[in-house]
Amino acid sequence: MEKKKTKQFKIFRFNPKTDKRHYFDTFDVPYEAGMTVLQALNYIQRNLDGSLAYRSSCREGICGSCAMHINGKYCLACETQVIHVKGTVTIRPMAHLDIIKDLVVDMNPFFEKLKAIKPYLIPGDPDEGAERIQTQDERAYLNTLVDCILCGACYASCAVNGFDEDYLGPAALAKVNRFFMDSRDKADEQRLALVSDEHGVFRCHTLFNCQVVCPKNVNPTANIANLKRQIIARSLTVKFSKKGM
């Protein structure tokens, strides 16, 4: 049988119960075209070191479990092909979040911020009978906005989240804009008020990190910019079309 090529994986390890400091373990994983980094992690966990901890679920880039730092960039392990990674594959957990074990981080702060922005539709009219009417154009504004899978890659990549732990972060702010842009949502003022404080949109330094890493092309930076624009326009009592985005 043909001997398979192997790739070296350098993986961040830390178990708060037994380790004083984090360290890196290296593993050699046989691979072929089509193998993803997540499958390589599975291989390591099943065959080389059972104690390796990482989250995984759908393995097709829609559940958002496996965001991690792979060779300099936050991405989904399941969508990253091993053959596309040059040299040793170095994997770190997401930043700004406490480490539970190895690549598993405590996502609670991330979700707490999501909860803080009222992430649900606030309709103006009571819901009765059939569906509300929304034109295709109105729906088209939401096209990438609703694609967020809450993986947290943007949150980990954002420098502002690093030094301001109260900063809402790209995902939550983009979610605000998702509802703000929804023609069925009637809580514009409320939503803008929620994000116009010093840990909200004006904290954003427009670094574009979130835009670069987002695996679903949600582009949180543009969403945050739209919210800023709307807040300014409203305080100047200028009528500013939502279409501007």
Binding site: D164, E165, I231, I232
Partner: protein, 121 residues
């Protein structure tokens, strides 16, 4: 998470920071051009005075001065804020910078005024 709510001041300052940035972009270019390419070397007091005798230039320079000072100090304040100081520290810094800014603006204009009087200082 603390209370979240509308902060009009923040939006205002953010907006002003952008406006002053535009003023600086245009103003600094004009300033640079005028000083370095339109006045024959060496620059003398008379040449400067001649320019500032026109009220247009006086207003231009004053606006540029205010924009520079606001933009710089607000930027400095934002840098401080990124280190998450306590509310009290922020307040003190904010007051100090405001006082410093007002002082610098008054002082700057105070220096500009004498140029406008023929015969000079």
């Amino acid at each position: 998470m603390g209370n979240r709510g509308r902060n009009v001041g923040l939006a205002f300052h953010w907006y002003l920071q952008r406006i002053t940035a535009i003023i600086l972009m245009i103003g600094l270019f004009v300033h640079f051009y005028v000083i370095h390419f339109t006045i024959d070397r060496p620059i003398t007091f008379e040449k400067v005075q001649a320019r500032l005798l026109s009220p247009g230039w006086l207003i231009f320079d004053s606006i540029l001065l205010i924009a520079v000072i606001y933009h710089a100090l607000r930027g400095f304040y934002n840098v401080i804020c990124d280190y998450n100081p306590r509310e009290s520290v922020k307040k003190i810094v904010s007051w100090c910078l405001t006082v410093l800014g007002i002082f610098l603006i008054i002082y700057g204009i105070y220096i500009l005024i004498p140029f406008t009087q023929v015969g000079g200082v």
